[in-house]
Structures are given as structure tokens and as C-alpha cells.
């Protein structure tokens, strides 16, 4: 009986482990290929270990194209993602506080609008927003990539934080009120410190989504010095511009590094965010 259980255990681990390796094999392959000599990548596609090992791809890749270094693209991405994330987190927390703690006229209607905004994805809004931003004269700048996020337009984050604030006992608010705190003071001194986990979860998802965002960059950014990484990578691999696959894999590996690091260090928050609110990773 014990023997049988041990065999089953081994089969379980062999199965789950090997399927797990298949799952991440493409990523490992890309990462390893980025250290191969660029002309040997496809001849040796079956081998994982680079021989000889070289970092030349990274040097070539960072040179970028059109006289813009790839570092500039990383800086642009970082700027857009950080600013938009700060906007999303602050505005979502403020709005969530309003929804969670106050009864006011039109609250239910507004809440329904918020749920609707969760169902209205970027692709449906792509052309409508383009037409509108064009009227506003925002096309060609970072404004469409940043300003909307300061208005809590991503319902997911508002929803996540509203649920979180709902879980905080109202007695804490009451006590602060008796001590003479106004509503803004209650929000800053009582609520904000208590919802830190939700803020972190929101910030992580927002940052990763902004970092990966390709569609709005494609629509609104048209100067190569302003490209974020996603758009730069796409142009890097366009036929005609370059066939330096080594450099391409090197830059692609670098571009997913922030997400991988977040994944390694904040896994707990990611898992919680997904399992509690169904956020998509």
C-alpha cells in the first residue's frame, strides 16, 4: 500500500513538473537565445545552452534604432507607467471611499456606471477615444496615456478598493469623527493606512498593464524618441528594419524583466488580487 502511494507520488511530481517546464520553456528559450551569437540562434534552436556565451546582443540592442537608444524607450515606459499608476491608485482610492462610506443621490446609478466601465474594454473605445483626443489636440503626446487614469476610469480598481473599505469597521470612522476629524482627514489618517494591501495590489496590476500597453502607444505616440518599450519592440521586429534576432530577443527579455521581478517579489498580492476580484493578470 505504501509502495503504491510512493509510486503515485512520483508519477504526480514527474507529470506536474514536466508540464510546468513545457509551460515556461518558451521563456527560457528566449532568455537563453539572447546570449547566443545572433547568427547561430536558429541553427542551434534545439539547444538551450549558449555556446559560445555572449552579451553582444545586449550591447547591440541597447543601441536602439533611428538614433534613439533603447534606454530611452525604457525610460519612457517607466515614466508613463509610474505616472499613470500613481494617478490610478490615488483617484481609485478616493472614489472607492466615496462609494463605500457615503449615501448620496445617484450613488446606485454611478455605481452601475462603474461596473459598466469594467465591461467596456479599451478595444471598443479605441476609435471613439481617438476621435475625441484628436479634437482635444492630444494625439502625438502622452496625454491620452496618462490623464484619463487620474479619473479612476478603470472600474476594476475602484471595485477592488470599495470591497476592501467595506471590510473596515465603521466604528473606526465614527471614533475619528468624534475626535474632530473631517471626512478628508478620516480618509487620509484612518482609511488609507488600512487599505495599503489593496493599494499595493492595485499599483502592481496597474503598473504591469501600463507597461505592457501597446494599443494606446500605437495610436497616440508618433515620435520615435517618445516610444515606450512595447512600441519600440514592435518596430524592432518589423520586416525591413532589422533582422538582428539576437538583439531582438535581448531587448524582449529586458522588457519583460519588470513584470517578472514583480511576479517574484509580489506574488502574494497578485494571487490575492486575482482570486478575490477576478482581475486578469
Amino acid at each position: 500500500m505504501r509502495e503504491k502511494r510512493r509510486i503515485r507520488n512520483v508519477i504526480y511530481h514527474v507529470l506536474v513538473f514536466s508540464v510546468g517546464i513545457i509551460m515556461i520553456y518558451p521563456l527560457i528559450w528566449m532568455f537563453m537565445s539572447s546570449f547566443k551569437e545572433t547568427k547561430t540562434i536558429f541553427q542551434t534552436a534545439g539547444n538551450l545552452i549558449p555556446n559560445p556565451f555572449t552579451i553582444q546582443n545586449y550591447i547591440n540592442g541597447l543601441k536602439g534604432f533611428a538614433k534613439v537608444s533603447f534606454m530611452t524607450f525604457f525610460k519612457n515606459s517607466l515614466f508613463i507607467s509610474v505616472v499613470a499608476t500613481v494617478g490610478t491608485v490615488i483617484s481609485s482610492a478616493v472614489v472607492a471611499y466615496g462609494f463605500a462610506r457615503f449615501k448620496f443621490k445617484g450613488r446606485n446609478l454611478l455605481f452601475a456606471a462603474m461596473l459598466l466601465s469594467m465591461m467596456l474594454p479599451a478595444q471598443v473605445l479605441m476609435i471613439p477615444q481617438y476621435l475625441w483626443y484628436q479634437k482635444l489636440g492630444w494625439v502625438g503626446s502622452y496625454l491620452p496615456l496618462i490623464v484619463p487614469y487620474f479619473f479612476a476610469i478603470q472600474g476594476f480598481f475602484v471595485y477592488l478598493m470599495t470591497n476592501f473599505i467595506d471590510g473596515i469597521p465603521r466604528e473606526l470612522d465614527e471614533a475619528a469623527k468624534i475626535d474632530g476629524c473631517s471626512y478628508p482627514q478620516i480618509f487620509i489618517r484612518v482609511i488609507l493606512p488600512l487599505i495599503t494591501p489593496a493599494l499595493v495590489t492595485g499599483a502592481i496590476f496597474s503598473f504591469m498593464w501600463r507597461w505592457d500597453d501597446f494599443l494606446s502607444a500605437l495610436l497616440y505616440v508618433n515620435k520615435s524618441a517618445l516610444y515606450p518599450v512595447s512600441l519600440a519592440l514592435k518596430l524592432f521586429c518589423d520586416p525591413g528594419s532589422s533582422s538582428d534576432y539576437g538583439a531582438m530577443f535581448a531587448m524582449a527579455s529586458l522588457s519583460i524583466l519588470p513584470s517578472v521581478l514583480i511576479f517574484i517579489f509580489f506574488q502574494k498580492y497578485l494571487v490575492e488580487g486575482i482570486s478575490t476580484s477576478g482581475l486578469k493578470g
Binding site: 511530481h13 509551460m23 462603474m114 471598443v124 479605441m126 484619463p148 473631517s182 511576479f263
Partner: protein
């Protein structure tokens, strides 16, 4: 300033002020754009010159446009194949990972990582190279003795499957949602079933699956919508090629609006897409009472 303080001190007005950012954002970045595009969907508009009102012309063109039908067919095929496959994988793997061992953390990470980065341009580029004629897929097939120089992305039958595999590969977040619902099923139900002599398969179909149906439903609705809206991956990997066999609706809409400069037509396409998504959601909700268990525990 005094007025603001006064408004902030009353519950009814303070709530309005706190939610004001969303109210403004919703109007400014969703309602107004949708309104503008509704008007433009009745216009001939090419971005460069002013719009000309043409009534229902765009919609008439659309219903006679073969590429429009083709893109709907492709998109439906993609969504109806990739979403169920992804959910089945997610559920299977979630059940395997329910058992906690020393390796569980590593396993969960390996299965979940692809969903974290799957939407990025980097992965799209990688996928394109993997399935190229000289890519790693053919090399691995050659290594096991199958002499394959097949162009997966060049064939109208296989190209769409490359995109489907990419979508199914990202089953990690659904898996996490299933894991957390599986953990909520009380052990006592299984113990009672054991007493009655039920085997593993009947326990799965009589206990696990019915209790998971609300989660499956939620996942199905969200992912059908997302499946219908897939853009980045198909735009980068195939651009709709070959012969429009991977032309997703969103990609077609993008091409019409920003490559052929039929932006008015593109706005009409966007509205039709919204109607289609609404319809799918309604249909899914209509089926809910037939298969989703809502009795609670």
C-alpha cells in the same frame, strides 16, 4: 474654500465630491467619445478632411463587406475554441495543484507566469519566431525525428491555431480563480460521498463541478468578452495573414480606421462590436439558469 469645507462636512454632498473624479472621467473619457463616434459612424470620415454625413451608408457597406463577415467568423472561432480550452486546462491544473507539497510554490509559479507576461509585445515576437519555418518548434520536431519544415504561420489552416495556443497557454489567472473556489468546497461533502462509496469520477461530476459552475460562468463571460477583443497578439504575429485567416475583428477595425483611413466606417464597426459583445453577454446570462448551480452550500 469655505463652501467646499461646508459641502465636505455633510454626508450627502461629501460622497458626491469623493466620487467626482469618476463621474467626470466617465463622462469625459467614455460617454463623450462614444457619443462622438456614434455620430461619426453615420459619416464618411478619413481623419484629414471634415466628416460628411452619409446616414446609414457605413452600415450598408458593412453588411455587403465580405471581409467584415470573415473577421467575425475568425473571431468567433478563436473565442469559442480558445476560451473553453483555456478553462478546461485551468480547472485540470487547479485540481492537480490543490494538493500541497514542497514543490507547490514552484509549480504554481511556472503555470502562472505565462499569464502575467502573455499580453506583452515581447511574447508576441517570441511566438512569431517560435513558429517560424526555422523556429524552435520545427527544430524540436526534427530532434524527435519528424522532418518538419512547415510554415505554421503561412498556412491558412494552422495560423489561427498558433494564436489559439498562445491564448490557451495563458490559463494561469483562471487557474488561480479555480484554486480559490476549490479550496472553499467543504471536505465534509467528499467525506459523505466516501461513506456512500462514490469513486473519484462521480465525486468530480456530482460535487466539484456543480459547485464550481458559478466560477466557471464568471470566467466564461469575462473571457468570451476578452477573447472577442484580442488585438495585440494577432496584430503583431499575423496581421490577419494569410488570406485573412487570422483577421480578428479588432485588427480589421484598426486597419479600416488607421491604415485605410475609413475612420467613419471604423466607428461603425466599433458600435457593431459593442452590440455583438452585449449580445454574447446576454445569451450567456440567458443560459445561466440551465447549468449554473446557485443553491449555495
Amino acid at each position: 474654500m469655505n463652501l467646499f469645507k461646508k459641502a465636505m462636512s455633510r454626508e450627502s454632498t461629501a460622497g458626491i465630491i469623493f466620487t467626482l473624479p469618476f463621474t467626470v472621467g466617465f463622462l469625459l473619457f467614455m460617454i463623450v467619445p462614444m457619443g462622438i463616434s456614434l455620430y461619426y459612424s453615420f459619416c464618411k470620415y478619413d481623419i484629414l478632411s471634415p466628416p460628411v454625413f452619409t446616414g446609414l451608408e457605413n452600415f450598408r457597406t458593412m453588411f455587403a463587406d465580405e471581409t467584415f463577415y470573415k473577421s467575425i467568423k475568425v473571431t468567433f472561432f478563436f473565442a469559442f475554441v480558445s476560451v473553453p480550452l483555456r478553462l478546461i486546462f485551468a480547472l485540470l491544473v487547479a485540481m492537480l495543484l490543490l494538493k500541497t507539497t514542497k514543490m507547490t510554490g514552484f509549480y504554481r509559479a511556472a503555470y502562472y507566469l505565462p499569464s502575467i507576461i502573455g499580453g506583452s509585445v515581447a511574447v508576441a515576437i517570441l511566438w512569431k519566431r517560435m513558429f517560424a519555418t526555422d523556429g524552435v518548434i520545427n527544430k524540436l520536431l526534427q530532434a524527435v525525428g519528424i522532418d518538419c519544415k512547415f510554415s505554421w504561420l503561412g498556412d491558412t489552416k494552422t495560423a489561427i491555431w498558433v494564436l489559439i495556443i498562445l491564448a490557451v497557454w495563458q490559463f494561469g489567472s483562471s487557474m488561480l480563480i479555480f484554486l480559490s473556489s476549490l479550496k472553499q468546497i467543504p471536505m465534509s461533502l467528499y467525506e459523505a460521498a466516501n461513506v456512500d462509496g462514490a469513486n473519484g469520477i462521480s465525486k468530480f461530476f456530482k460535487i466539484t463541478l456543480p459547485l464550481l459552475t458559478p466560477t466557471i460562468f464568471f470566467n466564461l463571460v469575462m473571457q468570451m468578452i476578452n477573447g472577442f477583443l484580442a488585438f495585440t497578439q494577432s496584430y503583431i504575429i499575423t496581421q490577419g495573414k494569410p488570406m485573412n485567416s487570422t483577421l480578428f475583428y479588432t485588427v480589421y477595425m484598426y486597419q479600416q480606421s488607421f491604415e485605410f483611413y475609413n475612420t467613419g466606417y471604423g466607428a461603425a464597426l466599433a458600435w457593431v462590436m459593442l452590440a455583438i459583445i452585449g449580445l454574447i453577454t446576454l445569451l450567456l446570462f440567458a443560459t445561466k439558469k440551465f447549468w449554473v448551480y446557485e443553491g449555495g452550500l
